[in-house]
């Protein structure tokens, strides 16, 4: 039973959880390096993810250069191209986006938004980062091992992933698998923290149905990751054994370089099932945090409550649950039982319902709002457009008959870049422009921000829109060069040059963004505690940037949901979550 005490602004439930004791750093090392403060860990995560993300960005330039000007660059051979693809894909999806959304945004925002002092187990949280860093370093080392990184494609399909003939077969693949295993271990440590903090560590008055949608998105994504990564973990262990011990989990009997290999009896499809049981939820692991963050950006910058909050929460949870039963839509052409195709096409299309619902709710939130076209808002709007775009092509690919001719073409590349590449990255940017003032106390430069936005947004369309067309022309993905392929019209070559130029320009815009990040640290406008007049708790901290422990002496008490914008009768157009009930005269 909950005891209710009378507080200043009405009835406040008694505290159910003891206030935590913070870890007090004993030395310089435990203060700045092995720090247990979730906010510092968040920054460490973000910087590491950005650094490795830049590697993936550079790899994408190299790939684009090769596709536009095949044969010009002697250092890009066919093997290198495969290695670039593989590392680019894997880094972008796992080491950049997953780490940035959950380890970066999650660590920073969860404790602040739920009104906690820190994550529940800060020590474990700290270990999570250091294991992640180790995973990244191991991954990077694969560029330096003999034979270079693996070129198996980011899906690492066996048997080719571990057969001779695939680049990086000697070392690269081993290093990649080890790095993935480390990543999963590190992530699990952090993930458990995020989940328990949301479930059990909230401030007084903070019910789950008052959480900002950002927290709902990150929370659900973390739960999904904790259930999806096991499949990748198991797959990685088994492939490592296939490669190192000569077991045959994934390896059928086959002839390698004219000789019968030592393998036999394994199931290559098994890997595909394990991989995609992880891989599809992974799409939503990066999408759900983006959904959540976008909802908050839109509501804040349109000065309006989010439309259909409860529906939004259920949609997030529903999408999370459904995304565990759609994985085989990636395997329509794999030779699995065709009846599966029917089942998985159906579930895939069903997922469109809650997703569309979210889009409608965003639009209805904007409807007649007081829209401020700030940089975060621009990114949020761009996300909606891009996500709808990628979602629509997803409906095409979800149908077996449409997917069969399109899979393996540039159409697929266009689709997934729109939906899980560009769209979440736009939200990452939006989120950074939005919360940078809280993290550093200073605003990012607005003009540079707008420049960055327009080049990135329009540029992304210049890159990926034509790829749909290329795909319909039959241009295959993962091809190092097209050569004299009869069915491909010459216009494809022209388009490829256009795409590459766009990609390089977009890349340059990211340098502007990095410059902005660094310069604004010292030169940005002072932000104050709540520059966007937002309602959520992280903007109500006593100090900006928030100190260790977030709240000073007293933990905040929450009196309302996160979306009290433009409440009729209130004296300001926003009411912070920790402001007691407004007394209205009858």
């Amino acid at each position: 039973m909950v005891d209710v005490v009378r507080g200043a602004g009405g009835l406040v439930p008694a505290a159910e959880v003891e206030d935590v004791e913070l870890y007090h750093p004993k030395s310089w090392l435990t203060k700045y390096v092995f720090c247990q403060d979730a906010k510092v860990i968040a920054i460490q995560y973000s910087l590491t993810a950005t650094a490795i993300g830049l590697v993936a960005l550079v790899l994408s330039w190299l790939m684009r250069l090769q596709l536009a000007f095949p044969g010009y660059f002697s250092f890009i051979q066919a093997e290198n191209y495969y290695q670039f693809i593989t590392m680019h894909g894997m880094i972008m999806v796992i080491y950049l986006l997953t780490a940035l959304f959950l380890g970066g945004f999650g660590n920073y925002l969860i404790p602040l938004m739920v009104g906690a002092r820190d994550m529940v187990f800060p020590y474990v949280n700290m270990l999570s980062y250091w294991i992640y860093l180790l995973a990244v370093l191991v991954l990077v080392s694969s560029f330096f091992v003999p034979g270079g990184p693996t070129g198996a494609g980011w899906t690492l399909y066996p048997p080719q992933a571990i057969l001779s003939g695939t680049p990086g077969r000697d070392w690269g693949i081993i290093v990649m698998l080890v790095s993935l295993i480390l990543f999963i271990i590190g992530f699990t440590m952090g993930g458990l923290n995020y989940v328990v903090t949301v479930l059990q560590g909230r401030a007084r008055g903070m019910t789950l149905m008052r959480l900002p949608l950002t927290v709902w998105g990150i929370f659900t994504a973390t739960v999904m990751a904790l259930l999806a990564f096991p499949a990748l973990f198991v797959g990685a262990v088994m492939m490592l054994f296939d490669r190192l011990l000569g077991t045959s989990f994934f390896m059928p009997s086959l002839v390698e370089l004219g000789q019968r290999s030592q393998y036999g009896g394994g199931s290559p499809i098994l890997w595909q099932h394990l991989f995609w049981f992880f891989g599809h939820p992974e799409v939503y692991i990066v999408a759900l945090p983006a959904f959540g963050i976008v909802s908050d950006l839109i509501s804040t910058h349109a000065r309006k409550n989010i439309f259909g909050y409860r529906m939004m929460v259920w949609a997030i949870v529903g999408i999370g649950a459904l995304s565990f039963v759609v994985w085989a839509h990636h395997m329509y052409v794999s030779g699995m039982n065709p009846n599966f195709g029917f089942f998985f096409a159906t579930t895939t299309l069903i997922i469109a319902i809650p997703t569309a619902l979210k889009v409608y709710n965003w639009v209805l939130t904007l409807w007649r709002g007081d829209i401020h076209l700030t940089v975060p808002m621009l990114f949020a709007l761009a996300f909606i457009v891009t996500f709808v775009n990628g979602g629509l092509t997803g409906l095409f690919l979800g149908n077996v008959v449409v997917d069969v001719p399109l899979s393996g073409t540039m159409f697929v590349v266009a689709h997934f870049h729109m939906v899980m590449g560009v769209a979440p990255i736009l939200v990452v940017f939006g989120g950074i422009y939005h919360w940078y003032p809280k993290v550093t106390g200073r605003m990012l430069d607005d003009t540079l921000g707008r420049l960055h936005f327009w080049v990135t947004f329009l540029g992304a369309y210049a890159i990926f829109f034509p790829m749909h067309y290329l795909g319909l022309q039959g241009v295959p993905r993962r091809y190092y060069e097209l050569g004299q392929t009869a069915f491909i019209p010459p216009s494809v070559a022209t388009l490829n040059v256009f795409i590459t130029v766009a990609a390089l320009i977009v890349g340059a815009a990211q340098m502007v963004f990095l410059f902005n990040l660094v310069r604004s640290l010292s030169h940005g406008k002072e932000a104050g505690g709540n520059p966007w007049n937002a309602t959520t708790l992280e903007w109500q901290t006593p100090q900006t940037p928030p100190a260790h422990g977030n709240w000073g002496k007293e933990l905040p008490v929450v009196y309302r949901w996160a979306y009290d914008y433009s409440v009729p009768g209130a004296d300001r157009d926003f009411v912070p979550q920790n402001q007691p009930a407004i007394v209205r005269s009858a």
Binding site: V196, T247, L274, Y309
Partner: protein, 241 residues
């Protein structure tokens, strides 16, 4: 124009709308979703859920390769038999191992009970007993491995048929054995702390600088029972199928 979520202020935190809405409100209630369950315990439960997925994937993969391989699968009753008194007795070793592990769950449960009664020495001794059971389980597993390796079973092949027999056997029992070993080490550390009276004096942890409580015995117990339960499935799917 306000959503219900907005207007349902703290008025009375006990008030709940009827029907499913009330169920949802209960689960999403103030501060904690699971009332009176500590952070550590929730964290262990969620970890175990994640670990369940790992073991499920291992077992499902084992079943898949057992079906995908065309070579015959060795007969477990013969492979896992011990020669006792000149006669092969099927599954005898594994029966003893299973019995030991299940018994260890009993001593663990008693340890938890005595922990909450703050009977420090009894608790520590019961934890040591649990650890001893666990260690002997791992020991017997090592014996079984040695025997099979002696008979020519390798991860990449064996004298009787499908390669996948040895691969899955070593991988799955090895992964489970690792879990047991970690459990034993953890039990020993915790038994030491209980014996020293850390939880009576709320001594702070070396790394975390958090106060220790007897609850950690229960959390260790959760893990231990889980590892036992997983063994039952491995036993059923690997040795009885």
């Amino acid at each position: 124009m306000m959503d219900r979520a907005a207007s349902s202020t703290l008025g009375d935190a006990r008030a709940r709308p009827p029907g499913w809405r009330g169920v949802a409100d209960d689960w999403s209630s103030d501060q904690r979703a699971f009332k009176n369950v500590s952070w550590g315990k929730v964290m262990m439960w969620i970890f175990l859920l994640s670990d369940t997925f790992i073991f499920s994937c291992f077992l499902l993969s084992y079943m898949t390769v057992r079906m995908s391989t065309t070579a015959p699968w060795p007969n477990p009753s013969e492979v896992f038999a011990l020669e006792i008194g000149g006669k092969p007795i099927p599954l005898i070793l594994i029966a003893i191992m299973t019995f030991i592990l299940i018994s260890s769950s009993g001593t663990m449960a008693m340890a938890v009970n005595f922990g909450y009664r703050r009977e420090r020495r009894t608790t520590a001794l019961l934890m040591l007993a649990t650890a001893a059971f666990g260690a002997s389980f791992v020991g017997m597993q090592a014996f079984e491995w040695t025997k099979l390796i002696g008979e020519g079973v390798r991860p990449w092949g064996n004298p009787w048929g499908a390669y996948q027999f040895g691969s899955s056997f070593f991988m799955i029992t090895g992964f489970h054995g690792t879990h047991v070993t970690i459990g034993v080490i953890f039990l020993l550390i915790m038994a030491h702390k209980v014996w020293r009276g850390d939880f009576d004096r709320e001594r702070r942890g070396f790394f975390t600088s958090r106060k220790g409580h007897y609850e950690i015995v229960e959390i260790t117990g959760l893990y231990w029972h889980f590892v036992d339960l997983v063994w039952v499935f491995i036993f059923a799917f690997f040795y009885l199928w």
